[in-house]
Symmetry: D3
Subunit: 224 residues, 6 copies
């Protein structure tokens, strides 16, 4: 019988992001499985910046799922984008558990004792985050959600990106009282440790949070 | 250098409960560590049934921590009792992360898509649970919290206990619309799979939920 | 100069539904404009029943908008489906006001003095409605949301459909204390008056609610 | 048979305010009716500045209603004062729909996508507004409620009044993130367009919002 | 110098009610003052049953206050009607503290450990109570608010009235989980003790709750 | 028959604090009883500064209660520490009413018309206060909770302590809009009057608030 899979779907088409995610979640791989498989939604947009992008991904995700060659082996799905595209739709359609990495990040930050701050990439995504936080009932745990305002083009400049993350993170902790910081974007986990060392509070990467919760669920659900 | 530990503290003095917990969380042990160590608070009460028990445990937990021989190795602490005794106090005193298993169970149930129902042991603990759920902001995700009303003495009768869990679980799912069920007691994971098979919705054991979240946190935090 | 338009988009591809909507909103047409134009999203699904349908419509709506021959004349857009597909995305992309008919129905019901009950078609859409009501902050105004559970095929049987609406409506008013009833589906306005006469409380059709609010906005915004 | 009326009651005794309101809502008049009739509560105070004024108006409104010569023709009532005096009492007593213009303004602002800011006249009315917003469940949609602090005497100085509105409006939009602005006073619609042009976000006049919702309701309710 | 007064105003014109209130609060009189003086608003309606009654009382209360011969001695005012008429207006106008007896009853019930149930006289007042409870933020503490539906005429039949109170109280405690019961009407304190004995939970009379809080405030505020 | 007692328990072991409390509540003593008896929990910590202190007191309080020589006479218990240690546990165990002085202070501040500000001693207790305020549902009534940051040692310097209270109080009133101020510590009532005179708004001492509510309850409950 074939081994069960923990699927992680990067819903944008940028393979470099998937690679970053795969590296980030590798330490969560348990040798006895399920096996973590990180995939790229090749039909997705290169980046997810607008609500239109978010909504538009659902059909592509369902299509990806329908034609997935290892679908029978799939034991759980983690959506690896901080906008949690397709989350409610996939939960309606799939019989396996589906976890959104933003939801997982918020839950993890809360379980670490919150209140939490969010470092977003662009200010235009902040209202979208706030809608999700309200839906979860976590408004009282949100210290603030502040953007670094680095464009997709400039995100490649790691010194610039980390510098902005650091200064926004410090504002969240010093001015807004955050006791945990959530990275409001998938594929940035390579900055996590440095940020944590600088800020002196736990920093949560959403894809790691999502995979950790799903790995726990699947290892337990597999027990007789 | 000595290996890091993920401490799980059963705050009641009943070693059989600790053994059940250790069995339940064993599948979450990652071979590369941290090592899960389940301990019994020998100074604790045999069971935790009242708010007085809950409050009274904090000092004993701090004392346990203060004299713990492997304290330097401890990387994280999971409190393995559904009342999360000492949670806020331990977070204030310890520099390592502290996760309460009830909080973790609620967050996990929510991340699986809720709304969730809670199977409590005794009705007298329900108001305590409701206070915690309100504090977390999850009242809108609670389908209902219903007790099996089995006394500590009778909990040893597994047929009786499971029978009650099953009928309360069915009421939560059929009458109250729960899409996930939380077991409102630590040390009951041996019923989890059977209950899930019967109810047809995910069933969350709190100690497994807490250890899964902590294991994720520690494996990631250990990365360079 | 060409006259301004109040666009009403039925995001499913069933022209009969658009015709029902056009009939329902015709009495709201002001002779001095803007002119109400009801359109069918021909690329949409025949009916909108799942979250996947809802999400999948956004791209098609944007595409419809992008190629709309009278786009320059459009003064406002009403989304005529009770799931408000594409609402947040369209607001991000368009510079004209965008109103969702479900939001408008809830606001209208509240302005008529609530609490309100919702008559849904299928139970599977109820959780989706509840998410939107929570986002709006109107949970305290919701008496209940109950489905008639009539399949798309059987919706053509008007006697059956109205009979179910009537009995669900009576349950909302007598058992759940609704003082206003919202029809949880676009294209059903032909039952509105009969339902109101039977139930003895105001009954709100979402497309009429949305067009009325938009007509007010546009007539006022057009003033010098 | 006599034509149905949409009554708009200015509950203060200042006829100039009623005239401003009548001008503001005239474009909402539909030629097929109902006919909008704006009236002055001649027994009311010259202005409504305190909670005592608000409460004291109810009896006078009921008296006005009781002796209204065209009462049989009245199809709906809009209360045209931002404190919505008598709203709940009139709803209890009248069998026709009653809409408060502050409630309508908040609902309209929310339907336009909020969050909204409120421009109040005097700071002493702000706590009253906050009580109403809390009752409606819209606290999460309120960017801020800021007063222009112009006394009744100085309100006649239109340059001063508009200047203050402009600067408070800019503060609401730039500092507090309002995406819609509500004018927190009836009878100021003549500043609406200029304010909207300056601020670059929709500006809602409460009497126009209330009449638009009521006109929609009445035109629809009149259908066979 | 004249002694300070703790004024208790029964805002209806029925002196028998004032007498009942005076008897009820007499045990709270401290011999060193302030002196409790219970008065009847002779200009008020015989009973307060509608929102119109509630609103209409404010002016009469202000008038009563304005012409009160011992106004200089008044140290605090308790409004002795469960609808708290004029509360916000009196707070705006008076420089002495003003306590509403419904608010005081809810706060007292909460301080005794809630959740609480309310025994109302007529169902038509329930929505009014719910608005106030929402404004206070105590919705989560409300078990239920149920009416005895005894008309003003029949309230004189004490056996009938007490019988209904008892059966509604039992429903609140047994079915709805109330741990405290609030009597939703002023002037009924003579049933309090019997009800408490029957129900086995604390029963709060609003006028006693209001006077107790005010007596505490005034005795303390009088200290040098 | 022996007279009933209103017990006030200072849960720290510092007798000087108990003396301050006894002085503060003496004016609330009614000559006809119950008799206010202020006691020191000699087994308690000298001060209550951490969540561990708070939790640890419950057992000591229960022990104190169990061995209390006048237990049969006790009619009510007020917990005289702003952290309300043991509140829920004592309510579970005792059949007499138990009031926490922080809860009583918040309820009293709300009944005086709020919003209220809190003057805390140390910033580390603020999150603890916020948890309690959230549990009570009073977040919307909290203007701010600000610490004076005076260490236990320096609290003896009354000029320093009052100076800080004054400046924090002014910040609460002027900057944060507090209309009532709560002293966030038991045993400080000697500053109350001066603070009130300075700030111009009511200032609530928690022990006085708690005893006033309890005195009211007991005098009324004693009636036949």
């Amino acid at each position: 019988m074939s081994e069960p899979l923990l699927l992680v779907l990067n819903p944008n088409s940028t393979r470099a992001v998937t690679d970053h995610i795969a590296t980030a979640v590798a330490p969560l791989q348990h040798p006895e499985g399920p096996r973590i498989v990180c995939e790229t939604l090749v039909s997705g947009p290169p980046g997810i910046e607008t609500q239109a992008h978010v909504d538009g991904i659902t059909e592509k995700m369902l299509d990806w799922w329908k034609h997935h060659p290892q679908r029978q082996q799939a034991a759980g799905l983690v959506i690896a984008c901080f906008s949690d595209p397709g989350l409610h739709a996939m939960r309606e359609e799939l019989s396996i558990p589906v976890i959104g990495c933003a939801e997982a990040a918020y839950h993890t930050a809360a379980a670490l004792g919150g209140p939490f701050g969010v470092i977003s990439i662009l200010s235009r995504s902040v209202p979208r985050h706030l809608r999700q936080i309200r839906l979860l009932g976590m408004e009282h745990l949100l210290a603030a959600d502040l953007p670094i305002e680095v464009s997709v083009v400039d995100l490649g400049d790691e010194a610039l990106t980390f510098g902005r993350m650091q200064s926004v993170g410090e504002c969240l902790v010093r001015q807004h009282g955050a006791r945990v910081v959530v990275m409001g974007c998938a594929g940035m986990a390579r900055y996590r440790r440095r940020l944590e060392d600088t800020l002196g509070v736990p920093v949560v990467d959403p894809t790691q949070a999502g995979v950790a919760m799903m790995m726990g669920r699947l290892r337990i659900a597999a027990l007789p």
